[in-house]
């Protein structure tokens, strides 16, 4: 089972007179792991929300698996920055809600995949932040999605938990082969996880870099090369008239 491809054509998004995304063209292959990086307010989260149909675009088109993406697709799952578990449902009940047919067996399997079966009867309030985010990952996986959209899901976690989650996401992606778009402000996280890192700058694609590193990824000189290259580009001084985009 492979992931779906995503084609983005001439995509624009305006909030009032502010143009957040300008003429984005991007093709993501089936099963590809893409990292979207950029300064805060550059439009990377907006792009992800438009792909998931949570936000409407102002122009252009998005095709997922060749079909126009106008409504929320059950094959496309979205992981938010916070876990967004229902506090009044147990871990297992939360995960069950992720499966369109409300299947308990599948929910247990998904919990097993994130190594939290033993917490299935806990309330979300009894879990740590990292565990909550793992439950939320299990809930996204239980419907066997073809596309997983990750909106900075690790940014609120501590450093060690984050490394664990990165490994878990990489492992699950290798097993399930869904397409992943990861929005992150952490360039080294993007280089560690993604096949391809795309830099969004002032609502446009500033850089599209293939990460040609073997998996499992290691932190070494090669990854440092990519990190340095992308960071240099992000941090390079901007022309004054372009700095106004801060949304």
């Amino acid at each position: 089972m492979a992931g779906y491809s995503i084609q983005i054509r001439n995509l624009t998004k305006r909030y009032g007179s502010t143009e957040v995304l300008r003429n984005i063209n991007l093709t993501i292959k089936e099963g590809e792991f893409v990292g979207l990086v950029g300064k805060s307010g550059c439009g990377k989260s907006t792009l992800l929300r438009i792909v998931s149909a949570l936000t409407r675009s102002s122009g252009g088109s998005i095709q997922i698996d060749g079909r126009e993406a106008l409504e929320i697709d059950p094959e496309v799952r979205f992981l938010f920055q916070d876990a967004r578990l229902l506090p009044w449902k147990t871990v297992l009940e939360n995960v069950i809600l992720g499966s369109p047919e409300r299947n308990k067996e599948k929910a247990l399997q998904a919990l097993q995949a994130v190594d939290l079966e033993d917490r299935k009867n806990f309330w979300p309030s009894d879990l740590s932040g990292g565990q909550r985010q793992r439950v939320s990952l299990a809930r996204a996986l239980v419907g066997t999605p073809r596309v997983l959209l990750l909106d900075e899901p690790l940014s609120a976690l501590d450093a060690l938990t984050r490394i664990n989650m990165q490994r878990l996401i990489e492992k699950l992606w290798q097993e399930w082969r869904f397409t992943v778009v990861l929005v992150t402000h952490d360039v080294s996280e993007a280089v560690y996880l993604a096949d391809r890192v795309i830099l969004i700058e002032n609502g446009e694609i500033g850089l599209d870099e293939k990460i040609k590193l073997a998996r499992p990824r290691l932190k070494n000189n090669d990854s440092a090369y990519y990190e340095g290259k992308i960071l240099d580009r992000i941090l390079k001084p901007q022309q004054p008239e372009l700095i106004q985009y801060t949304i």
């Binding site: 998931s52 949570l54 929320i72 229902l86 009044w88 449902k89 809600l97």
Partner: protein, 283 residues
């Protein structure tokens, strides 16, 4: 758990641990018993003062002695009057509260979920709420007579509003991020209500129920005092005619107990429904 001051230097760690273990071994039963004692400190204290005043002959004729009160209670229990009146009062309170609560809940859900319903219903609801309940009493007596319907209607009228307002507020203050999560997972509007809106509003709704309980007893007393031939309120009014101070005081005590017990029941239901919330799990 127990709040312990954290050790300020490493040498006190072991001491602190010893203290913690010792503290943990104090039986829970003892803690519960001491809480119970504290809760009843003031009522029992008042009872003792009353007993003292009566024994020392300082009570005048307008106040019954504890002995009279106990005798009356025993008499009213044995001839069945007490339970008959208690039963009818409880039925009226429960019926009125159930009807008012359901109406308030349904209205709150409608106005909380749908803007149009809010626009249409809010003004009339606020107007009805602003008319003092006792001002409506003559109207209700004329319409429904002094039968059971009048009392139930009166209670329903005064209990629907707190439930309505708190349901509305609970639904409106649901975290929009959870609603968005529901959308991503393709929830139908019924699922959205069942899994997100309703459970999220429960703590608010239960506050409304507790407020309504307060007005239930208040209105019941008035209704039974003015227009009834049974019930605790009637018992008290009837006793006033004959200056039976012991029965009047007994009725007051019964109201106090009914109010307390019903609130306790509401609190324990709330705790049960909200066991997922760490704020309700402390005790």
């Amino acid at each position: 758990m127990e709040k312990s001051t954290s050790p300020t230097c490493s040498s006190s760690v072991s001491e602190n641990r010893g203290w913690y273990i010792k503290k943990k071994f104090i039986p829970v039963v003892w803690k519960n018993a001491s809480n119970l004692a504290l809760a009843w400190l003031i009522p029992v204290g008042l009872l003792l003062i009353w007993g003292y005043l009566s024994a020392s002959g300082n009570l005048n004729q307008l106040f019954p002695t504890p002995r009279e009160l106990v005798q009356t209670t025993v008499r009213l229990i044995s001839d069945g009057t007490l339970f008959d009146n208690l039963r009818i009062s409880l039925i009226r309170a429960a019926g009125g509260l159930a009807i008012g609560g359901v109406i308030g809940f349904v209205l709150g859900v409608l106005t909380g979920q749908f803007e149009t319903a809010d626009t249409i219903l809010n003004t009339p609801i606020q107007m009805i709420k602003s008319v003092p309940r006792l001002a409506v009493l003559p109207l209700i007596l004329i319409w429904f007579g002094i039968g059971e319907t009048a009392k139930v209607v009166l209670i329903a009228l005064s209990t629907f509003f707190p439930v309505y307002l708190n349901t509305f507020h609970g639904i409106r203050s649901i975290n929009p991020e959870l609603i968005e999560m529901g959308k991503v997972y393709g929830f139908s509007s019924w699922e959205m209500f069942k899994h997100i809106t309703f459970p999220g509003a429960i703590s608010s709704i239960m506050i409304g129920v507790r407020q309504s309980l307060g007005s239930t007893w208040l209105i019941l007393i008035v209704a039974e005092t003015i227009a009834a031939k049974s019930g605790i309120g009637y018992m008290a009014t009837n006793a006033r005619e004959y200056m039976m101070m012991d029965v009047i005081v007994l009725s007051m005590i019964l109201y106090a107990l009914l109010g307390m017990v019903s609130d306790r029941i509401a609190v324990s239901i709330t705790k049960r429904l909200l066991q997922w919330d760490p704020n309700y799990r402390r005790s």
